[in-house]
Symmetry: C2
Subunit: 410 residues, 2 copies
């Protein structure tokens, strides 16, 4: 059976039946940049959400966790302030944001979630935020504008990040759309509780059992957001939300059914697409590199090796410099704690073999730099020991990263 979800060009949240989105400049950010976004569903949704594994969690997470069993109609997001390390006042402020959306749009009590991103350790200016929410509620009733929403959730992002896909499941056309933000403080470990300050908002019109919604999100996240790293700093605010409003009116998708497997494939594609956009837009990044570890004895060995390489300062600067320094790559594998045997390991840059049988493939070394010129490359370590594997997408480390973060109060 062939199952190929189709990407909708220029698609996003608003490509999905019943979902509106918009954003405005409330004044939280200076210079009139957009900083307040809202997603609204015509019908109340089941929700699945995964949050950062950081012990310190932003106020919006503490607040949202209480509401995940409710039916959700909207998510309000502010950028410019992470509402983190703000104690009980922070949680109260998140609650007020949600309640103001409920009142302004006449929604059921308990039906709104909140997300925040930006500087840690500052109280939100609630006068500005609440006034902004009232205004945004008026705007979204009249007009839906995906771009405005995408801009409103940005911090150090250079580009907006949206995607949508359509597929056929059980004879019904189902859409999944999403928007994300994130460029720095990116090493998601989103647990059930998953992690990054990445925020991702995914919506679908699928009619799907709540348990299936959550399990699909966990599986898709483990193959996407949890496999990216810009700077190895796991944020306090990372959140992935998935709303399902059932408006596709398909036969209910139940956990572990064939339809579930298809839904999961489509959702994974959406999540991977957004995750990769985050790495591409990593602070100061010029390249995306897939670090692939194959044929390990355990998956954990592959995870340790792939992550050590993906997070190495020296590997990331070498990638920036297009310097084929495979010694640094193997050194990172060497301190990763993952099990390998240097005599059995094969190292590739794309398809070019550089190390094999315990020896450098000297005739290929001079061609290694050529493989690094493009914006994307794959570094593969075939451990040749077992049958497990893991991959991570990482970005390069550049002067621009340093400049952005030497001054950004995130």
């Amino acid at each position: 059976m062939e199952f190929e979800p189709v990407f909708l060009e220029g698609g996003g949240i608003t490509s999905v039946k019943g979902f509106r989105a918009n954003g405005i400049a409330s004044g939280l950010k200076e210079l009139g940049f957009k900083d307040l976004g809202l997603i609204l569903s015509e019908k109340p949704c089941d929700v699945a959400a995964l949050f950062t594994n950081n012990k310190i969690k932003a106020a919006h997470i503490i607040f949202d966790l209480e509401r995940l069993s409710n039916k959700i109609s909207a998510i309000v997001v502010n950028s410019g302030n992470a509402n983190c390390l703000t104690g009980e006042i922070g949680v109260k402020n998140a609650r007020e944001m949600a309640e103001t959306v409920e009142k302004s749009l006449g929604l059921e009590q308990g039906g709104v979630l909140v997300a925040s991103t930006g500087v840690i350790g500052k109280f939100l200016n609630m006068d500005v935020v609440l006034y902004g929410i009232e205004k945004l509620a008026r705007v979204i009733k009249i007009e839906s504008d995906e771009k405005n929403f995408s801009y409103a959730i940005m911090t150090t992002d250079r580009k907006t990040k949206t995607v949508a896909t359509e597929c056929e499941i059980d004879g019904s056309r189902i859409r999944i759309g999403g928007a994300a933000k994130g460029a720095g403080m990116i090493k998601p470990e989103l647990v059930d509780l998953p992690h990054a300050t990445m925020l991702a908002f995914i919506v679908t019109d699928a009619n799907i059992e709540k348990k299936a919604l959550k399990e699909a999100l966990i599986e898709a996240t483990n193959l996407s957001f949890n496999r990216i790293s810009v700077d190895n700093d796991t944020s306090t605010n990372d959140s992935v939300f998935l709303l399902a409003n059932g408006m596709a009116e398909n036969k209910l998708i139940t956990y572990k059914s064939e339809a579930y497997e298809l839904f999961k494939i489509a959702l994974t594609k959406v999540c991977q697409s957004l995750a990769k956009m985050i790495v591409k837009d990593g602070e100061g990044a010029t390249k995306v590199v897939k670090i692939e570890v194959k044929n390990s004895i355990t998956e954990m060995d592959a995870v340790k090796i792939a992550r050590a390489i993906a997070d190495s300062y020296l590997v990331k600067t070498a990638i920036f410099g297009q310097s084929p320094n495979f010694g640094r790559i193997l050194a990172a594998a060497g301190y990763s704690g993952g099990k390998f045997d240097l005599k059995r390991l094969k190292l590739y840059f794309n398809d070019l073999l550089l190390f094999s049988d315990g020896e450098i493939v000297h005739e290929n070394v001079s061609r290694a730099a050529n493989e690094m010129i493009t914006n994307e490359m794959t570094i593969t370590l075939d451990l040749n020991l077992g049958r497990k594997e893991y991959f991570v997408w990482t970005s390069d480390l550049t002067c621009d990263y340093v400049k952005i973060n030497a001054s950004y109060l995130s």
Copy 2:
């Protein structure tokens, strides 16, 4: 009892009785930079050595491990090539280096150790190296020159690193002197086997039992070289050597005696002094920051928290930018896996309290940037939970670090 080892201004290896050192340009490095160093003791020495915990170990380590029970008279060091990932040929080359020193200086067979630092994954040009060793052997017989040695072991180092101390133990004057190199790929975890590409050569004229020599080195290293991080990349070549020639003719220092405790204090001071020089000279570094975690329940909690903060890209760029971004510091503590309670934690920049009782100390925040102006500062997290503690010295992350490593083939 007061015991205060005295630092000898401008001291180093050659401040210690019976030790000579020198270095030359053999041609391994381009442009006539010095690249071959030699330490020579008048009398054969007991040796203790600790090497990198990286699974991939340079050829010199594999070679040296066979000789640590021998009496050692000399250590030969080359820079410009790490002789790592060079397989059996690399080990054979290390052996040839040692044997050439033995022959050229008429030393006992087995009495020479080897160290290498530089680019990984290239074979040494043995014609150049062996010719250089013969020349250096002739030079060192005539002349001892600490500076030449210090220059010869440098790679990306900007400064030479030497220190010497004198103390009185059991009525005898004992000296300990040392030289080190290292600026990048620095996160030593030197085990018995300890890690960085740092190399440190420490010599003493103390008459000390071999077991005491090794135990003192392990304890001193755990309080010094193992507590520094420039870039969180543990090298394949890290090595710390300690030679004792007994020429101070003091009463034998035995393990766990009072004299041992004094020797250990003096040795720790030498190691800490060299370790801190490495961080100060970290690639592109402008600042040294001590990350201190106090009053944790277990030492491992303090280790995890201190290391996560010391290795955070975002904390290190904030330090460079003198940006008092304590949110990033607490976020790193949050993902470290170390146990703490935000409500009990106190965060200080030097003596300035910034976070206490779960809240930001708002009146002090505006003064935080002032604490970051100097070249050295201390960030303290008092967890207020237990009685354990740990500290790490780290450097800032700068554009220069990126530039150096985008092009350096290390």
